[in-house]
């Protein structure tokens, strides 16, 4: 019985329990004793008692039985598996077991002993299997199927039994003075608390998943070589040919990341800051009401669109322009730091301007009025009073923007190039950490080669880098807000 069906049955039991409990509660209310909870709370309590334990049991049971079956399969593998590794043999057996489920009872009863005979039977059902499936796997797979059916049946009976028991208990609990509402609300509160811990779980998940793979990576490549290596050359060697593992130097990637982010900030910070100042201090309300949403539109455009614009339009344009200027050979490559930085800078303009807009408008009115009253012009007030007062906040905003620039992926994937150079020339191509994460992890992967694992080491570097910047930025911004509150 599939777990989906079991789940549906459990929910139906719960609904029935809800209806019965509500009716019972309504029938008990004779108007003499004041009931503690309204009827539908009794219904919900019966529903929860029926469904929750049963669903929990089902989940634990399925996890437990799949772990058991897995170890069972591993234990049954002979010492000589006949294929490259034991995990491979287990996964072959698993897909064989899945294929066997397509056969009917008659065919299963007279299962051929060799894979050569079995294959046409399965192929007739549209099951294609790897050719290195071994003969000894057939009885193991058939037995595993039976075991999993058995476990599934026990689990289903247990779950439904638990649901029935819970529902009956819930219905029997219905009494006028029973505190059904408190029970339901307590459970709801736990549910709300559970939902809010998902944020923590996500962070833990991010850190743990990347940490394990990174440690795995550092077992093969020493951390010193990764953090201080200046050559990035991860050869995709064929599996088994471990002699040349390639070099994994972080420095060229980090340099490219920071360089492009720096160019982007050179574009975004002056433009974003000036437009925020103009919007906050000069623009008439009507102008503000039309221009601000238009700039926010820039923020709503997906980054892949910016990347495509850089790749298809701006990159070739800059290349041709430089060719025309130099009269012949172009000195700006189509994929270059300049292109990527420019486009990323434009993407960041609305980020800078909306963050600094908040900060500038938070500067108290009195400071502005004081300066204007002393005869300063508006621009003098802005330059000598407002901006210095807002400086910490603006620094925080720039830090937040920089962390966005470092973590940005699609623009650099399309516009910055893949060659890991170390150069100071902004007209050449450099690559970034995010580009390399994408490069290493798209396509077919094998999960224990350093070529794939390095992506997680890069990922955790990126995560720590942006995390530190965000924490510092948030701290500064918060401190700054408190100052004027």
């Amino acid at each position: 019985m599939s777990s989906m069906l079991v789940l549906a049955i459990v929910v139906v039991i719960g609904i029935v329990a809800f209806v019965i409990a509500r009716q019972r509660a309504a029938a008990q209310d004779d108007g003499k004793v004041k009931p503690h909870s309204r009827a539908h709370y009794h219904g919900w309590w019966a529903f929860l008692l029926g469904v929750l334990p049963a669903v929990l049991f089902l989940a634990l049971w399925s996890i437990g039985s799949s772990v058991y079956l897995n170890s069972h399969l591993h234990a049954q593998m002979p010492a000589e598996t006949g294929v490259a590794s034991e995990p491979l043999a287990v996964s072959l057996t698993k897909s064989l077991a899945n294929g066997l489920r397509k056969l009917d009872a008659q065919q299963l009863a007279a299962l051929p002993a060799t894979f050569a005979e079995l294959q046409p039977l399965l192929a007739a059902k549209g099951v294609a299997l790897a050719t290195d499936t071994q003969d000894y796997m057939i009885p193991i797979a058939a037995e595993a199927n039976q075991a999993s059916d058995r476990l599934g049946l026990i689990g289903a009976i247990g779950t439904i039994g638990l649901a029935m028991a819970g529902a009956f208990y819930g219905i029997s609990q219905v009494q006028l003075r029973a505190r059904a509402r408190n029970n339901v609300e307590r459970l709801m509160l736990w549910g709300l608390l559970g939902a809010s811990t998902i944020a923590i779980l996500t962070t833990i998940g991010i850190v743990l998943s990347m940490l394990f793979q990174t440690l795995n990576f550092f077992n093969r490549v020493p951390p010193m070589q990764f953090f201080f290596g200046t050559v990035w050359d991860p050869r995709f060697a064929a599996a088994g040919a471990g002699a040349s593992e390639g070099q994994f130097g972080l420095i060229p990637l980090l340099a490219g990341t920071l360089y492009i982010a720096f160019v982007a900030l050179l574009v975004a910070v002056p433009i974003g800051l000036m437009s925020a100042v103009y919007m906050a201090e000069y623009a008439a309300p009507r102008v503000r009401a039309t221009v601000k949403p238009a700039l926010e539109l820039l923020a709503g455009i997906p980054t892949i669109v910016y990347g495509i614009f850089a790749l298809v339009t701006l990159g070739p344009f800059l290349r041709d322009l430089s060719a025309a200027l130099a009269g012949g050979a172009s000195f700006i490559q189509a994929q270059s730091i300049l292109t990527a930085g420019l486009v990323m800078g434009v993407m960041l303009i609305p980020v800078v301007s909306s963050l600094s807009d908040d900060i500038i408008t938070a500067v108290p009115r009195a400071m502005r009025d004081g300066s204007l009253g002393l005869g300063a012009t508006r621009s003098e007030t802005i330059k000598r009073v407002i901006l210095p007062a807002a400086l910490p906040g603006i620094v925080g905003a720039i830090l937040l923007t920089a962390s966005r620039a470092i973590g940005e992926t699609m623009i650099v994937v399309l516009a910055a190039g893949v060659a890991a150079n170390l150069t100071l020339n902004p007209f050449e191509a450099m690559t970034t950490i995010t580009v390399k994460i994408v490069n290493q992890l798209t396509g077919d992967l094998e999960f224990n080669s350093p070529q794939t694992l390095v992506a997680f080491a890069l990922g955790i570097t990126l995560f720590v880098l942006t995390l530190v910047m965000n924490i510092v930025a948030l701290y500064i911004v918060r401190k700054y807000r408190e100052q004027y509150e």
């Binding site: 609300e185 709801m188 509160l189 709300l192 608390l193 559970g194 939902a195 809010s196 811990t197 998902i198 923590i200 996500t202 962070t203 998940g205 991010i206 998943s209 990347m210 793979q213 433009i271 800051l273 000036m274 437009s275 100042v277 103009y278 221009v291 949403p293 700039l295 539109l297 820039l298 455009i301 997906p302 980054t303 892949i304 669109v305 990347g307 495509i308 614009f309 790749l311 298809v312 339009t313 609305p350 301007s353 012009t377 621009s379 962390s403 966005r404 940005e408 992926t409 699609m410 995010t434 994460i437 994408v438 992890l441 798209t442 992506a455 990922g459 990126l462 942006t466 965000n470 948030l474």
Partner: protein
Amino acid sequence: MTDVTLDTVATATPPARRDIGLKRRYAAERRFRLYGVLAILVGLAFLVVMLLSILTKGYTSFWQTTVSLPINFEEKVIDPDNKRATDPSVLVTANYPALAQKALAEKLGIDPKNKPMMTRLKGFLSDGSRVQLRDVVVSDPAVIGTTRNVNILAGANLDSAFKGQIDLTVPEERRKVSDQQVEWMNKLKADGAMAEHFNTGLFTFGASSRPETSGLGVAIIGSFYMMVIVLLLALPIGVAASIYLEEFAKKSRFTDLIEVNINNLAAVPSIVFGLLGLAVFVNFLGMPRSASFVGGLVLTLMTLPTIIIATRAALAAVPPSIRSAALGLGASKMQMVFQHILPLAAPGILTGTIIGLARALGETAPLLLIGMVAFVANYPATPFDPATALPVQIYMWANEAERAFVERMSGAIIILLVFLMAMNITAIVLRRRFERRW
């Protein structure tokens, strides 16, 4: 004498005005204002240039050139051994392009035995004709033996030439359309047989190695599945978390930790979520690669902070008097939240959710890592089947060299932007319509 006094009065210089550099300062003021205007204009100009460049490249992709040909569904080509009654697969594997080729040769008055001329026809019609004609025959086998007009897709290069995107003044050997083909094209155009039609294929086809038969069908379905998953998971979880943090949690170390976490997750680069999805969902939990379900989970985690932050702001905006009134009338705290606060905060929550969804719809990087860069030709029947997503399809087309793919890619961007625009406008309208100031 009086004259003299008058004179002295008139010529007496007024006390010299102290030079406080007013002129210079006003000039600086004007300059400063100008910088502000310039900054805004640069931003807007870039927006306009970018949208225009995409629009001009992409709008033609909504039309596709087809050739209307009288196809003779000859039995001896489709089913030479006459066994379709017993083996229907004959109809699927028949040599349909030959039928189209023959019809085209007839239309152009070329002798089918003239081999050199026939080879020049190559590429005139799309290989998609195989699927087109097969669908006609499979849906109605009675058509075999009769002649019927079918609009066959033109090849990608002919399509570009027909739309005038190929420069015909370039020497023949350096362009992808031969002079002979151009001549035929003009003849068919004069006939009215070759014409542009609205490109429904762009919305319905799956992945293909040929531009004219590739489309966004799989990507749209994949993106739709993911949006549904994000909505079903992120909205309830996000609202529940915000309710707890805003209405129930007492300030403690634990809630501080949660808040710091949420703020940080909102700023974590999206590609890190992709790494999480790959390591945890695909590798550890063994979920299928390329499936929209996994994509939906990753995007849910990414969208949650946005929704939580918006929801908390919406909840905090409901005035405390509503809470006191509900509690004063004997509602429990749970009843107060769910029956009074939540309905009042709903417009704000909805706006935040739509904006979060729009962000998730345009997100590419994490989906690349969980293997959604896949060549998927068939519609995914469930969220667990391999699929792609709209932005990922755009990325995949960006890596193709052919000109016609760039056109399709720009068309896909237009479609994506229209979706996003619609969502954002809905959010703005909702906010305008339902927002209450207390």
